[in-house]
């Protein structure tokens, strides 16, 4: 017992500072991440007069007026509805076309498969700025300008490759013996795919849907270029407010907080897959 004591002490002394320094580094980093967000949330509960005239770390005069403005004024809340509409459309389209393709890439080799796979990735690399003008003309010429479906299709440019890559990453983890056994047992492909395979990779589909949702939700340039009134997304409405004079900072901050909420809610469920999603299924 007494012989153990010094050993314990030395290990404690040696390991203690390291735990501390790593905790300090991570804490400092988290503070750096959270302080600007705290300021946004703080602003959203202040009146415009308080924002401009006084400097307070917490709202003196706590108000929900900014949120009330957004939730009662159609020119604000319609932005959220428009965004949600095209984001959901895009997620459904992307998943529907990406599922079979990802299966093909994960299970078979075929003529040109590697080139095709890379070509898909190149679309994720394409700067949206390059596509802004041609998309505007393309969707105007088929009179889809200012519709939700136009934005949904435009976002397929980067979301479909993303979905294919992430899903392929998840499907590779499913052993191929399962497919072969099912085919030997007499399952047709469609039956096998919908009844057996899709339930097996349900978590992967969930994660992919989350990322399609997210990348469509955060995008501004294409959605702003392709809409004017009827399908104008919340992100574009926010930049319009910025450029107008007489800024209502409180309302702007509240609108920003509301755009963060969808991601913040779902984040907990995908936390273990989030690296895989951002790495296009490659981790």
């Amino acid at each position: 017992m007494s012989a153990d004591q010094p050993v314990n002490q030395t290990t404690r002394i040696r390991s203690k500072p390291r735990i501390k320094s790593s905790a300090i580094i991570v804490t400092l980093y988290l503070i750096f991440l959270l302080v600007p967000i705290y300021w946004l949330v703080n602003m959203s509960f202040k009146s415009n007069a308080e924002i401009l005239n006084t400097f307070t770390l917490f709202p003196d005069d706590f108000t929900l007026d900014n949120y009330r403005t957004i939730l009662t004024d159609p020119s604000w809340y319609m932005g959220y509805i428009n965004s949600l509409t095209y984001v959901l459309l895009n997620t459904v389209i992307s998943l529907a076309v990406a599922l079979p393709a990802a299966y093909a890439f994960s299970r078979y080799r075929f003529f040109g498969d590697n080139h095709l796979f890379f070509w898909l990735l190149t679309n994720r690399m394409a700067p949206p700025a390059v596509f802004a003008l041609p998309f505007f003309q393309l969707y105007s010429s088929v009179s889809l300008f200012d519709t939700h479906i136009a934005v949904a299709l435009a976002h397929c440019l980067f979301n479909v490759p993303l979905a294919v890559w992430i899903l392929e990453g998840f499907m590779r983890g499913v052993p191929r013996e399962i497919d072969e056994t099912a085919f030997i047992d007499g399952f047709g492909f469609t039956h096998f795919f919908t009844k057996i395979f899709i339930p097996m990779i349900a978590p992967g589909i969930g994660v992919t849907a989350f990322f399609c949702f997210m990348f469509s939700w955060v995008e501004l340039l294409l959605s702003r270029t392709l809409t004017s009134v009827d399908a104008k997304p919340i992100t574009a409405i926010m930049t319009r407010t910025v450029s107008a004079s007489g800024l209502d900072w409180g309302v702007l901050a509240a609108a920003g907080v509301l755009t963060i909420i969808p991601g913040a809610i779902v984040i907990y469920f995908v936390r273990n897959h989030i690296a895989k999603g951002f790495a296009l299924g490659r981790v």
Binding site: S22, A23, I25, V26, L30, L33, V35, P36, I37, W39, L40, M43, I51, L52, F55, V97, A98, P100, A101, A104, F105, Y108, F110, F111, T122, N123, M125, P127, P128, A129, V130, F131, L133, P134, Q137, L153, C156, L157, V160, V164, V218, L220, L221, T225, T235, V242, G256, T259, I260, G263, A264, Y268, R271, I274, A275, F278, A279, L280, R282, V283
Partner: protein, 291 residues
């Protein structure tokens, strides 16, 4: 196990092929078209050959924007990659705190790009921002909308704030895949912290770091929304990166020809560099699979 060859797999790929072709090749062809033509309006076009390309290669505006873009990508890569690795190395390995860290760190990644700009605008402004106020209280002159250097620092810090977590999360995922036996072996050998990092952790993170560098390079090279909202490309032109310049040219001034030629060259540069990264990535994947 080798995948079997099956040409019918093409049928499963066709929907993707058609959709992406519609949203990528078709618009791209109009860009190629414009880049060789000039117009006086009213849909009358005539062939100018390589005129736009020649003009662009001699335009200072493009080279300046390209220079700023390269500098920006280089700076943020050299900050975000080491910082991300540092954070990943120090993150808790398991338990509640690991989850808390993962969730909080992911938060900036999921914020709409323009809101990121708004957050930093509100945060940095001298009149209403916490950072701006703090700076002026400390007696440091700081104004990102007037001073070129301040604008650059703000845009860089904003990008570090926005995307370092991506590097950290990827590195963390790479670190988690190292079997515990490796660490036990280093303890027996009494390896220093540095050599553990250099000979065990870094090689294991190689694959994910390549992805992180590829993604960060690509996305920083086409950054548009965040600096557009924060500084609008100013003061003057100092934070006008390639995408901002291109959108100004294409949608602002409606210079179709030059904008199209600009687009193509821009796209090709990204493609070329990304292809190099991708090739390296695939070869790392293969050598890891062999081990």
């Amino acid at each position: 196990m080798e995948k079997p060859v099956n040409q019918r797999a093409w049928i499963l790929v066709i929907p993707v092929l058609l959709l992406v072709a519609f949203s990528s090749i078709l618009p791209m062809m109009t860009v190629v078209n414009y880049s060789f033509q000039d117009t006086f309006g009213e849909n009358i076009f005539f062939w100018v050959g390589l005129e736009w390309y020649r003009e662009l290669l001699h335009s200072e505006r493009l080279w300046d924007a390209l220079g700023r873009q390269m500098l920006f990508s280089a700076i943020i890569l050299s900050i975000e990659i080491p910082l991300g690795i540092l954070v990943a190395l120090n993150m808790p390995k398991k338990g509640v705190w690991a989850s808390v860290c993962l969730v909080l760190m992911s938060l900036p990644l999921l914020i709409p790009y323009n809101v990121v700009g708004t957050i930093w605008q509100i945060f940095g402004r001298v009149d209403i921002g916490l950072l701006g106020r703090l700076m002026s209280d400390l007696g440091i002159s700081y104004n990102y909308s007037q001073n070129a250097f301040d604008a650059w620092v703000t845009v860089v810090v904003m990008d570090v704030w926005h995307w370092t977590s991506l590097v950290a999360l990827l590195s963390y995922a790479g670190l988690r895949s190292i079997p515990n036996a490796y660490y036990q072996a280093t303890k027996i050998d009494q390896a220093s912290r540095w050599s553990v990092f250099r000979y065990i952790e870094l090689p294991k993170m190689q694959g994910v770091l390549m992805i992180a560098i590829l993604l960060r390079f690509m996305d920083s090279f086409m950054i548009y929304t965040e600096p557009f909202v924060l500084t609008g490309g100013g003061p003057g032109n100092v934070t006008t990166f390639l995408s901002i310049d291109l959108v100004k040219m294409a949608l602002g001034q409606f210079d179709l020809g030059p904008a199209a030629a600009f687009s193509l060259m821009y796209y090709l540069v990204i493609l070329l560099i990304s292809y190099v990264f991708y090739t390296v990535m695939v070869s790392i994947d293969k050598s890891e699979a062999k081990q």
